[in-house]
Symmetry: none
Subunit: 213 residues, 4 copies
Amino acid sequence: MRYKRSPLMEERLADNRQRILVAARKLVATGGFRAAQIAAVAAEAGLSTGSIYRYFPSKSELFVEVLGEAVRHEVEILRGIVKSEGSAADRLRRAVESFARRAFEGPFLAYAFIAEPADEEVDAERIRARREFGNVFKTVLREGIASGEFPQQDADVASACIVGAFTEALVGPIGPTHRGERRREEVIETISLFCLRAVVGAAAAPARGSVRR
Amino acid sequence: MRYKRSPLMEERLADNRQRILVAARKLVATGGFRAAQIAAVAAEAGLSTGSIYRYFPSKSELFVEVLGEAVRHEVEILRGIVKSEGSAADRLRRAVESFARRAFEGPFLAYAFIAEPADEEVDAERIRARREFGNVFKTVLREGIASGEFPQQDADVASACIVGAFTEALVGPIGPTHRGERRREEVIETISLFCLRAVVGAAAAPARGSVRR
Amino acid sequence: MRYKRSPLMEERLADNRQRILVAARKLVATGGFRAAQIAAVAAEAGLSTGSIYRYFPSKSELFVEVLGEAVRHEVEILRGIVKSEGSAADRLRRAVESFARRAFEGPFLAYAFIAEPADEEVDAERIRARREFGNVFKTVLREGIASGEFPQQDADVASACIVGAFTEALVGPIGPTHRGERRREEVIETISLFCLRAVVGAAAAPARGSVRR
Amino acid sequence: MRYKRSPLMEERLADNRQRILVAARKLVATGGFRAAQIAAVAAEAGLSTGSIYRYFPSKSELFVEVLGEAVRHEVEILRGIVKSEGSAADRLRRAVESFARRAFEGPFLAYAFIAEPADEEVDAERIRARREFGNVFKTVLREGIASGEFPQQDADVASACIVGAFTEALVGPIGPTHRGERRREEVIETISLFCLRAVVGAAAAPARGSVRR
DNA sequence: CATGAATGAGAATTCATTCAT
DNA sequence: TATGAATGAATTCTCATTCAT
């Protein structure tokens, strides 16, 4: 006795799927991958463990998607900024600050990016995520370099540096250790200035050796 | 009547301890913490699982030491550079390059720093490690700021940015997905220039809003 | 949509829990705590090792409950006898005989009381159990002393003596070495008489020294 | 190059053997069988683990002997009392008190008798030990019965009761729980009176049924 | 002979995944 | 379709016993 999937049913299915994703994200954000066992995700989502497997073929794939979803969302925002009006420097600054600000609000994302998941597949996704972020920044960098606004530089490496710089700088105040949220805006501004100077400050590069006196 | 521990025996003991540490490090470097079960470490070290426990009270403590040892060594080198002759900028550049170069040779280190271990204790050590690296760079930064060589900036945040920048930039070419070792020196130089400019380039910080036009 | 737990399921769950307890008890009774590994209990109960942990958080807690359950049952019966009609001496006698008789039928209990478990937590439970038995007998003793039926005596110590006396006397014919079940009723009566005389026989206590001649 | 065993050597051997036994006994007395691993015994004896195996073929046999030695010593003392002058009742009382007093001084013994060792062989020895104690008391009982001093009773069972009574009564104040040694002599006297009454108090046995009203 | 490092067979526990209801 | 109980492979850690030095 097979029924067609009614629209209502479709909706409920999509709903459950989403609830699982949300639950998984929340658990990782709260207690890291360690705390995100299938049973816990199921409980958080108000479903049974068995149901998780109706929507996701394995734990790995679930978390790959959790990460992917978060990244997609983040990248979308960043791309919006990058494509907006303004000088390359300004757009870069705004992108960094935007990311940082959200990282403060939902510590999950930034934290997950430096976390090695317990699983190879998820690991791969994590690296892909970092690369995607890099790509967004690479775009601005290239535009800035092309327009002469930024000095010549390896955009691949520099964009990775940017991602690393703010990721790391955020982990300190965001990670499990520090919970005090003091100086939020200060930290954000310092980070963005750091990245900006790194990219813009052409004159800074000391002639090899000459500096050493 | 108690026999003295012969020098030969002493050596073998120290040897085994070292072999365990080396084996553990190698496994982490190769396959991440995932691959580093006690049984695997024992096999790699050419010992039995039981023997691991003669030298280390628990898996956690073993890996805390693996990390700690690597960090101590690295920090020592960096501190040497930081305390050497030269301008702050030059010392900073050399420190970054030195680190990056070694990271290329022994991918383990840089990789372990972004790895979330399966264990809370090791996790704590990992965070401590990152902070220690930050501290080294903070020293140069402060000196540079004090001498007027660097512009005013939050040394705490900036040092974290530096660590993050090169860590991240290295993970790409170093991590599990690394695509050949091409451009090694180029990458290293780009990274160090990035950090240098970020720290030195005072003029770069665009007045808030003015840039946006 | 959450399904209700069907009565059938409920039953099976309670069933499994009970089966585990029974299996554990049986193994202890048969081969002592030595023979009662989780794997063995699981096999005996017709379950997997993992399932044990769905019902009990740890091996210790399982055995604490095994003991506790047995003791609770036993104490209940004894208390019933103690609270019934009759002279203190009679109730005491009946309590002892009742215990002894059951000990013959299910050697487990008496045997477990002298077993030192491999686990501190269970050990504590075992000691608590002995004390509980003692308390039951203490009640009759006190009543008998108060009514003048028994001579003045330290009820704490005497009740422990009673528990020890019949426990020990039963271990012989009951323990792993037991040589057939001959003389069951004889043994039971002898034990109860022993205890009774010990408690009742006021005149018996020889004046200190006078006897020695 | 085999030397004859010099008397000196013999002595040292015997010495070591004894030291191992003493060390083992001490550890059991202090921390129970749980605490008496071979390594611990070796350390306590000032020897190597390997040496333990020169003197004892296995852990079991070591502890069988530890128990056996303690029992032999105890039995010797008790037999001395039993064979001394005096009425059966008096000798019985003195034997019980003597045992109890020593149990207070070295809690090990009494405690070990109710402890189930981790090992089948030791277990067997433990049971044998209890029987041996019983035998000593059986001797006095029989003499008392024969001389008419004690009423007719099953000496096998009664002697077991005696051993159980004082063992149990001692475990309370002696075991891991109570450390306060208050009332030492009181307890001892109460126990011995209990046993005495149990054995002597002929009149006490209520006519079956008559008591029940 | 003495040593104590090395061994490795267990034992407890966890958790992703399956499947009868 | 949803459930969650059951599974059992995988992993850490312990400790009696052996054996090269």
